[in-house]
């Protein structure tokens, strides 16, 4: 048995033991009680349900009409966080409908972690692995060393598709940390820093904002980031292209 296989099997056992043994009771209790977690006060044993959580100090917003669907952000995310190019491990998912031919602008779905004001993923985590990082602008993060792979954060995510990501090799969850903990990101991340997805987007369809967007629907996160229309001319070759109507149309 290879080391990596052995590691995987051990992790599977961890998860299974957790689910069928004491962990299951803990998890069930945690889910019922909605255990909150923060970096300072995360405690899976705590039954105290917080009425509210400190808001994240930054949010990722996007322009679904401007986005090219090129998935640059996905590669930047998995490269800087996991050190591999793997879209399935990207914390931002750009879902292209090609080849199923939904018409613009519904042909691309942009799935970013919303850093929810009321983060269910944090609430339901039985081990405190999913926590609020108060030392870094209250980002909702996952500490994989504490994750037991119960997937409750994934099941509880109210977004479709869910924004918490399942790592099928490590058998743990992960999620957007605004690049605060990205080991292969050579720039400062977090709410006061830069994000790999934002920086690599070729059309500037992603942006970090400080104010919490409207939480009720996607409109709060799907915003107009289009620059002023740019006229392109071809000298000696006729009229310029018509100005964009909106966004990147």
């Amino acid at each position: 048995m290879t080391e990596s296989k052995k590691f995987e099997d051990e992790k599977r056992i961890d998860r299974r033991q957790f689910l069928v043994g004491g962990g299951a009771a803990l998890a069930a209790g945690a889910l019922a009680a909605g255990v909150p977690g923060t970096a300072k006060a995360a405690s899976p044993q705590s039954n105290a349900r917080k009425a509210s959580y400190p808001k994240s100090e930054a949010y990722l917003v996007y322009d679904s009409r401007l986005c090219l669907g090129c998935q640059s952000c996905m590669f930047a995310c998995s490269l800087t966080h996991e050190g591999v190019a793997n879209p399935s491990l990207s914390r931002i998912q750009i879902i292209r409908d090609a080849p199923s031919f939904t018409k613009y602008p519904y042909d691309v779905v942009i799935a970013v972690c919303r850093q929810c004001v009321s983060p269910l993923c944090v609430q339901v985590c039985p081990t405190g692995a999913c926590f609020i990082d108060e030392a870094n602008g209250n980002i909702r993060r996952i500490d994989q060393s504490k994750c037991v792979g119960c997937q409750r954060c994934i099941q509880s995510c109210p977004q479709k598709p869910h924004r918490t990501i399942w790592d099928s090799v490590k058998l743990k969850s992960t999620k957007c940390d605004l690049c605060e903990g990205a080991p292969f990101w050579n720039e400062k991340g977090g709410p006061e820093g830069k994000q790999a997805c934002v920086e690599t987007c070729p059309v500037h369809a992603l942006k970090l904002v400080k104010k919490a967007p409207n939480q009720r629907d996607i409109d709060g996160y799907d915003v107009n980031l289009a620059p002023p229309p740019r006229k392109i001319t071809f000298p000696g070759m006729g009229a310029p292209e018509p100005a964009a109507k909106k966004g990147g149309e």
């Binding site: 986005c67 090219l68 669907g69 090129c70 998935q71 640059s72 996905m74 590669f75 930047a76 998995s78 490269l79 800087t80 996991e82 050190g83 591999v84 190019a85 793997n86 879209p87 399935s88 491990l89 998912q93 879902i95 292209r96 409908d97 090609a98 080849p99 199923s100 031919f101 939904t102 018409k103 613009y104 602008p105 042909d107 779905v109 799935a111 479709k160 598709p161 869910h162 399942w166 099928s168 292969f184 990101w185 050579n186 790999a196 920086e199 690599t200 987007c201 070729p202 059309v203 001319t233 071809f234 000298p235 000696g236 070759m237 006729g238 009229a239 018509p242 109507k245 990147g248 149309e249």
Partner: protein
């Protein structure tokens, strides 16, 4: 093995239904893409020695869909899929040809664990190949036969992704998950009927156009290849890839049409989300300008863009090759010195579609005419309806469609007009029946037509002008341009004269377009393109990017950018010169295949119009020339080629490449120097080795 590879190549024999695997490491010396595809073609189709390589529809034809190590690693534009095989489209005979297509097919292959797919044999009934990670099956495709490319891809997507709701759910595949859809390359009805004018279609507008490889799929009863994968690609320096990308975008803001972005191979020059009308927004210019409608002289396809998109959709749905069936292209310009047929107004790409209208106008083609036009409604030539009927006639081989299905020049030949219209310059196809794209005055582009198998589709040197082309007026002098460029073309960086485009008098032979200096420019173009665009599969519209209009001088990011990407992904210790040398190896591999198929110096000739006034289509702009010891820009819209000059150039080029100057065949010394002794042995056994 270097990083960036999946490690294995899928091999499918449709005759025996055998599904096998090739170890990628065996072909690592050829980089990837066309390099590996050509080397595999050599081993599977040439070495056995039982096939003369003449019939593209022979079940022994081996068609490969290959990725490169950069695909699926986040390198912008690095995700193209290279295709090579004996191509049915070329004239007067099928030739070994390579092309490529963008989109997400190559990277999805990598995520499924494959560096490429190699297909040979012929299924006894329609099939499609279904790749889901390691699981590969040959599926019954009878219900797909006859569907257009959109319908076929939708059917396959439903079969693979089942009830997974687009944009709302992760699809579970084994233990893994993905939000992606299967990536599919397929053919439409035009490919099914084994025409020579069919493309491979991927998604709603991406196509492998040149070569007519849709017909090869059709000949194998292969409707489609679908792939979905959930894995990842290990890279040597993940931070280095991201850093390189940021270095590019921060230092060279938008210096080409293509945005310096994209994880796959999009967007193209039009951006693949300008799809606010119909689906054709993913298409490249070839599809977009396939339908023209009416246009004013000198005007680039203006008017209602959505109509152009609808035209593109027709071409893509039917899977017709917009390259082989060009109706005129993007623009028509006044050219007083053009052959008589054009009456002073020449469309940029006068192909099959344009030619039948020309014959109609001179009374040679039409209802009841010498060339019966049924079922084409020639009086509706400039309508979308005509395009639909045109595709249908070719796909079903009805009436004139039977002639056109066999290819442009084959049809012209059958109609008895080939010699006359070739010699008159009415047929503006530079070589091998390949339609005009760009060419003169960019002589490297022109020369590539004859030494390869038609249009090289490589814009690398196209923009090196003093203005008047796509780039607008130059902001630099000819001397500055040449000085900047010379530093980039290692190992020929000691010879600035390679950039002199002098075409008149003694200068043309001494320092200009027929000189040994120009041979180096062509050699570098083929080596660079062979490695970075065809093996590393980087979109050639994105890179190379030699010239910048940014504030930091005129030097663009190439070739440093692509070399940095290559190192970051693979971890290779090679120098840039080493990579160019690998490009030379790939170029010689291709050459060996072509020689085995019968290529000889005598065949490498231009169509007559290239030697006549009016050969240049006037959007190439002015070119740098070295005259009387000084560099300057010269307007070369009147450039045409001297026959003796081209012959002298061929001699210089063969000599530089280490090929026999009488035959154009590689010598043993050259091949062994490149580590290709076995190739030399096979050529020798068939008496095709250069002296």
């Amino acid at each position: 093995m270097l990083y960036g590879y999946a490690g294995k190549i899928l091999k499918v024999n449709l005759t025996t239904k055998d599904i096998g695997m090739i170890d990628t490491a065996k072909y690592e010396e050829f980089g990837g893409g066309v390099g590996m595809g050509a080397a595999i073609f050599w081993d599977l189709a040439v070495v056995p020695g039982d096939w003369d390589l003449q019939d593209a529809f022979d079940p022994r034809n081996v068609i490969s869909l290959m990725s490169g190590p950069l695909a699926g690693t986040g390198v912008p534009g690095g995700g193209r899929t290279s295709v090579c095989a004996i191509a049915p489209e070329t004239f007067p005979a099928p030739l070994f040809h390579r092309t490529s297509f963008g989109g997400r097919f190559a990277m999805m292959l990598k995520f499924a664990g494959w560096d490429g797919v190699v297909i040979h044999g012929k299924a006894d009934s329609p099939v499609w190949i279904n790749i889901i990670n390691d699981k590969v099956t040959i599926e019954d495709g009878k219900h797909l036969w006859g569907l257009d490319t959109f319908e076929a891809q939708d059917e396959i997507t439903s079969a693979v992704s089942g009830r997974t709701r687009f944009g709302q759910q992760w699809q579970q595949i084994g233990e893994d998950y993905t939000t992606a859809r299967p990536q599919i390359v397929c053919i439409g009805p035009v490919g099914e009927s084994m025409t020579r004018v069919a493309s491979l279609i991927h998604g709603s507008g991406v196509a492998a156009r040149t070569g007519g490889f849709g017909g090869v799929f059709g000949s194998k009863n292969l409707k489609a290849v679908s792939v979905i994968g959930t894995g990842g690609i290990e890279v040597a320096d993940p931070a280095g890839i991201v850093d390189t990308r940021l270095w590019h975008t921060r230092n060279f803001p938008r210096i080409t049409y293509a945005s310096p972005g994209t994880g796959s191979c999009m967007p193209c020059i039009n951006n693949d989300r300008k799809r606010n009308s119909y689906y054709g927004g993913e298409s490249m210019c070839a599809e977009e300008y396939w339908y023209m409608g009416k246009q004013e002289p000198g005007q680039m396809m203006g008017g209602d863009r959505s109509v152009l998109m609808r035209g593109a959709d027709i071409a893509v749905r039917w899977g017709i090759c917009t390259w082989a069936t060009k109706f005129g292209g993007a623009i028509t310009l006044p050219m007083p010195n053009a052959p008589a047929a054009f009456k002073g107004m020449v469309p940029m790409e006068p192909g099959m579609g344009w030619y039948i209208k020309y014959l109609y106008e001179i009374g040679e083609l039409g209802p009841g005419k010498k060339i019966e036009s049924h079922p084409l409604p020639m009086d509706q030539w400039d309508t979308l309806k005509f395009r639909e009927i045109f595709c249908d006639a070719i796909a079903r081989r009805v009436g004139i469609g039977e002639d056109l299905a066999e290819g442009f020049l084959e049809a012209v030949n059958k109609w008895g007009r080939l010699e006359e219209d070739m010699n008159a310059g009415t047929l503006r196809l530079p070589a091998w029946g390949a339609s005009w794209h760009h060419s003169l005055p960019e002589v490297c582009w022109a020369y590539s037509y004859i030494f390869m198998s038609g249009d090289p589709v490589w814009h690398g040197f196209f923009g090196l002008s003093g203005g008047g082309g796509f780039g607008g007026p130059a902001t630099y002098t000819a001397e500055e341009l040449v000085e900047t460029m010379t530093k980039k073309v290692v190992p020929f960086d000691d010879d600035p004269l390679i950039f002199s485009n002098s075409w008149k008098g003694k200068d043309a032979f001494k320092t200009g377009i027929y000189s040994p200096h120009k041979a180096k420019m062509l050699a570098w173009a083929r080596r660079y393109a062979g490695f970075y665009n065809e093996a590393m599969s980087i979109c050639e519209m994105l890179l190379p990017s030699f010239i910048s209009s940014g504030p930091k001088g005129i030097a663009g990011p190439s070739p440093e950018l692509e070399y940095r990407y290559y190192k970051a992904v693979t971890g290779s210790n090679e120098t840039f010169a080493d990579t160019i040398e690998t490009g030379r190896k790939i170029w010689n591999m291709e050459r060996a295949i072509r020689v085995m198929a019968g290529r000889h110096r005598d065949q490498e000739k231009f169509a007559p119009f290239m030697h006549m006034p009016g050969a240049t289509f006037p959007i190439g702009g002015s070119k740098p020339v070295y005259v009387n010891g000084k560099w300057s820009f010269e307007d070369q819209n009147d450039l045409y080629l001297d026959r003796e000059g081209v012959e002298q150039f061929k001699t210089h080029f063969y000599r530089l490449e280490g090929w026999d100057v009488d035959s154009g065949w590689p010598t043993r010394k050259t091949l062994e120097e490149l580590g290709m002794k076995k190739v030399a042995d096979v050529l020798a056994s068939k008496e095709r080795l250069g002296a």
